[in-house]
Amino acid sequence: AQSVTQLDSHVSVSEGTPVLLRCNYSSSYSPSLFWYVQHPNKGLQLLLKYTSAATLVKGINGFEAEFKKSETSFHLTKPSAHMSDAAEYFCVVSVLPWGGGADGLTFGKGTHLIIQP
């Protein structure tokens, strides 16, 4: 089984300052890790994914995340926040091999990112 912990339920930053959304995971197998974003009244959109290639992953809208196996972390960062980044962010882990069932995919509880003008 695996688990995902998003360490902050809410993060507030000023526009133009760096963003850090923290995610720790546990997994018995080599994981694939994803970050999804959900804007108000919109569907979930994939930001980026890690699948055992480069440990530093670049995604859309200037976001990136670094897979650190030793720390079991996959934190999401952005150098400069924009007002349009205000949304809910979900860290997700899935594993191979996957035996099926609800354990195959695990979402974190989400981090609400607030951008102050």
Binding site: L46, K49, S94, L96, W98, G101, L105
Partner: protein
């Protein structure tokens, strides 16, 4: 291109009534997933389909919930005898193949309100 679509977008129903939620995945995607997003609860994985088969139904909250997929395409999630705790946004997603490393594409969701 066409993404995942869900219907209806909003559904208000009386307690005890049955509801059917529909999901149209991206064409060619073999895997389909249903989730429930309740206020303050995050996303709850309900069930997945590989083709028309749902190998594991253990994620469904109760036996009032059922799901099917036909023709490797459209899926329906049915909730019988709805209860107020069923109120949530029900999300559908599809992926080219089953899960990792294939990312899931999400539909806009169906907001279910049980009065």
């Amino acid at each position: 291109g066409a993404g995942v679509s869900q219907s209806p977008s909003n559904k208000v129903t009386e307690k005890g009534k049955d509801v059917e939620l529909r999901c149209d995945p991206i064409s060619g995607h073999t895997a389909l997933y249903w989730y429930r997003q309740s206020l303050g609860q995050g996303l709850e994985f309900l069930i997945y389909f590989q083709g028309n088969s749902a190998p594991d139904k253990s994620g469904l909250p109760s036996d009032r919930f059922s799901a099917e997929r036909t023709g490797g395409s459209v899926s329906t999630l049915t909730i019988q005898r709805t209860q107020q705790e069923d109120s949530a946004v029900y999300l559908c997603a599809s992926s080219l193949r089953l899960l990792s490393p294939y990312e899931q594409y999400f539909g806009p969701g169906t907001r279910l309100t049980v009065t």
